[in-house]
Symmetry: C2
Subunit: 136 residues, 2 copies
């Protein structure tokens, strides 16, 4: 199984440690195409000298070739939203993981989309249980 993990990069890297834990766990179920999203060395400035066109086209190829998209949607991110929108139109399976926040709400376009599975979690253990349920 090929898994496309989506998480915020230029939208902010506050959750990178959580992305890494999720990616590690997803690796037990298949090949995670976007492993770099969990790397602490990848900052909100993005992938150094790599051009935006290269990143976009590479990620779209990975998205297209994936069997499932797992998106962490707690941190607002244009790229994650973009990937989810394109993946829906291509009929992909998409699982969104969201940690409820005290003073924020998840985007209505994500929370209100019937084409998505959105699951709330608070701890990594809860996230793992959700992933197990959807990917086993």
């Amino acid at each position: 199984m090929k898994i496309y993990f989506a998480g915020s990069i230029r939208g902010g890297r506050e959750d990178v440690a959580i992305y890494l834990e999720i990616i590690k766990y997803l690796s037990e179920y298949g090949e995670v195409l976007t492993e770099h999203i969990g790397e602490a060395s990848l900052t909100s400035f993005g992938e150094g000298e790599t051009s935006d066109e290269f990143i976009h086209d590479r990620d779209m190829d990975w998205l297209e070739s994936s069997d499932i998209i797992v998106a962490e949607v707690t941190n607002p991110s244009l790229g994650v939203g973009y990937e989810i929108g394109r993946a829906i139109e291509r009929g992909k399976r998409i699982l969104c993981l969201y940690r409820p926040q005290p003073n924020k709400k998840l985007s209505a376009m994500i929370g209100g989309s019937k084409e998505l599975k959105v699951e709330n979690y608070n701890t990594i253990e809860e996230a793992k249980t959700i992933i197990k349920k959807h990917l086993k």
Copy 2:
């Protein structure tokens, strides 16, 4: 001409005054379907009692019926990214307006997409000049 304006709501309302100015100017070229995005009374908590499903389906109907999407992409937003992604797959014309920021970069999925027109601006007057060029 029907215009779908996309701007951040739950991702943060820092730019609401700018959205309002852009929407006012867009109204000279056609009907702006999403005028509420410029309302200061609309906070990051969203549209009060309206359900996410209702918002999502209404906005997707508007997106589908629009002749052009104009998206302000300075503030990271899952919803704006989602709308752009779905609109690309539906072959819509899309203009993105971005104000370069000192310590941030625009998402590579937006900046690197050949299907989008992305234009940088600093002042409202510059935004108007860009809109005029693309919508006249």
